[in-house]
């Protein structure tokens, strides 16, 4: 009887696990393995090169550039979109005329493909012609080229990502807000607490699990989503707006250096694990309300 349970259990899992292992776990392991080999080119087969790829990685200025870009991208995107998401949730949590319209406005960018979003914003950023320049032009500001300037390209991309993601995070905060018992705020108000104090002392701490969840999601997304880079800047100018996954794509599918691509992927995997562990410990002490 017990063994039959085992067999049934295993059979139920088998189809899904086959695909999950085939396209996630096995590739992850093989990627690590491949990073110790050279890329096969023409008649030269792939050979074991030990740590050569990693040596190249450490000495690759572009790798460090995209890594720091990714860091700045995450730092620019995540706190801003979380702050905006909380503001949106607080707004929409009130009763007022047109509330569902406002909520729809916040959430709509989430439904759009990132590629479409990038197209729309590319038009915004068009030098001399796009809406950004038209608005600035009204204030007698000269022509800008936000995407073509190494100093502003990444920031311009951060803005697009914030626009896309804030509404998505809003709904989690909305759910969290609705789960907070209203008596807490009432009690605080009787004690004479103002709106800001209530938010800082009651609402925000109670939403900490949501913040943890959202920020993990956001960090993963900041590594995983690079679609808009293709449309907006193609990583340029001079890699100023390239992110790690985009660099992996370029290395592996434009220059067909798959061994180095695998090495870059290993760096990405290591980083993701590190972040997951770090975030877990960092937040663990502050999240009491699970």
């Amino acid at each position: 009887m017990l063994t039959r349970q085992w067999v049934h259990g295993w059979l139920l899992l088998m189809p899904a696990l086959t695909f999950i292992f085939l396209f996630t776990h096995i590739p992850a392991v093989v990627t690590v393995w491949n990073s110790f080999f050279s890329t096969a080119r023409g008649r030269r087969p792939s050979v074991f090169v030990g740590l050569d790829n990693y040596e190249r990685l450490i000495n690759d200025p572009v790798f460090w550039k995209v890594l720091s870009n990714n860091l700045w991208f995450a730092l620019g995107t995540i706190p801003t979109s979380i702050a905006l998401a909380i503001a949106m949730a607080l707004f929409v949590n009130r009763q007022f005329l047109g509330r569902s319209l406002v909520r729809m406005a916040y959430f709509t960018p989430t439904v759009l493909p990132l590629i479409a979003v990038a197209n729309i914003w590319l038009f915004f950023y068009t030098p001399g012609f796009g809406l950004v320049d038209q608005i600035l032009g009204a204030f007698d500001h000269g022509q800008t080229n936000l995407l073509g300037n190494p100093d502003t390209a990444l920031a311009a991309i951060v803005v697009v990502s914030v626009w896309k993601e804030a509404g998505f995070f809003m709904i989690f905060y909305l759910a969290a807000l609705q789960a907070i018992p209203p008596q807490l705020a009432e009690a605080a108000r009787i004690e004479g607490a103002g709106g800001w104090t209530i938010f800082r002392r009651i609402t925000f701490p109670l939403m900490m699990p949501t913040t943890l969840f959202v920020s993990i999601n956001a960090v993963i997304n900041s590594f995983r989503l690079v679609d808009h880079i293709f449309i907006l800047t193609a990583g340029g100018p001079d890699n100023a707006s390239s992110l790690l996954l985009y660099y992996i794509y370029e290395t592996s599918f434009r220059f067909w250096d798959t061994a180095y691509g695998a090495t870059l992927t290993v760096a990405m995997l290591a980083l993701l694990c590190l972040l997951a562990i770090g975030q877990f410990f960092l937040f663990d002490r502050r999240v009491h309300y699970k």
């Binding site: 349970q5 259990g9 899992l13 695909f19 776990h25 503001a87 949106m88 479409a116 996954l245």
Partner: protein, 269 residues
């Protein structure tokens, strides 16, 4: 709550909302007006559908729509079947290695196939599936997220219902189909909506796998179309952009509440 405070909140909410829809409104504006009005905002500007027609004829969007439709349907159906079976196994069976396997499945929430493009492409090439819709779909047909979501729901189903069905002589699959699946309907709706919008919008992996009109989904088709920047007018590109996101957008406007609740439910579990 003072009236002043309240008015300020509503004002803030409305201003942020206006800022948030501005890009979209602008895209709609350029798409439904002749290109002379791309940057001139006069209410009397003549409305036109010419941009949409031009975009539709300039690239094989009908084919792209079909490809995306097939792709999304295949993925969602496979996900439902595979994830349901696995979720049932994890929720109601005891066997050695279950917890280890489950944590391995959860690992996919962190390390997604999206990141492992180099090795997955190599695998696909060895399988001879490059440039096929099946090739785009395969890495996603089983999802750790789906298994997790459905398992959570199955665990809330009372064991007594399961036992009762078993006493009446129903086999494991019959129990799953008659007891568990009907009770989990809202979760399937949520997961379905999230999954459809995710795969409708997916870009990087399809870009790598496909290189012909017959397999390209909408997102890749759109990027190919707008990359030909020689001569294609912005109004036409914006029309194409809206067209490709159109079905999702319309579905969202119609089922706004379900969408929001679905994403919420999918995230909270």
């Amino acid at each position: 709550m003072t009236g002043y405070d309240r008015a300020l909140t509503i004002l803030g909410a409305a201003m942020l909302a206006a800022l948030w829809v501005l890009p979209l409104i602008y895209a709609v504006w350029t798409a439904v007006h002749p290109s002379e009005y791309e940057a001139r905002f006069v209410l009397t500007a003549p409305l036109t559908l010419a941009n949409f027609i031009e975009a539709w004829q300039a690239a094989p969007f009908a084919r792209y729509f079909l490809n995306t439709f097939v792709l999304v349907t295949v993925i969602v159906i496979c996900q439902f079947v595979l994830c349901t079976l696995a979720a049932y196994g994890f929720a109601r069976y005891r066997f050695p290695g279950r917890d280890i396997l489950f944590s391995l499945v959860l690992l996919q929430l962190l390390v997604m196939p999206d990141i492992l493009i180099v090795e997955n492409y190599g695998l696909l090439r060895r399988m001879g599936l490059v440039d096929t819709i099946a090739g785009i779909a395969l890495p996603y047909v089983a999802s750790g997220f789906g298994v997790f979501l459905i398992r959570q729901t199955f665990m809330t189903v009372p064991q007594e219902l399961d036992d009762a069905a078993r006493i009446e002589g129903a086999g494991p699959l019959a129990i799953l189909w008659r007891v568990y699946v009907p009770l989990a309907k809202p979760v399937y709706l949520s997961y379905g909506l999230v999954s459809v919008s995710h795969h409708w919008n997916n870009f990087l992996w399809p870009l790598i796998v496909t290189n012909s009109v017959e397999t390209r989904p909408l997102t890749v088709g759109l990027s190919v179309f707008s990359a030909v920047d020689s001569g294609v007018e912005w109004s036409v590109i914006n029309a194409a952009t809206l067209m490709t996101s159109g079905p999702l957008l319309v579905a969202f406007l119609l089922f706004q509440r379900q969408f929001v609740q679905s994403f919420m439910r999918a995230g909270i579990k």
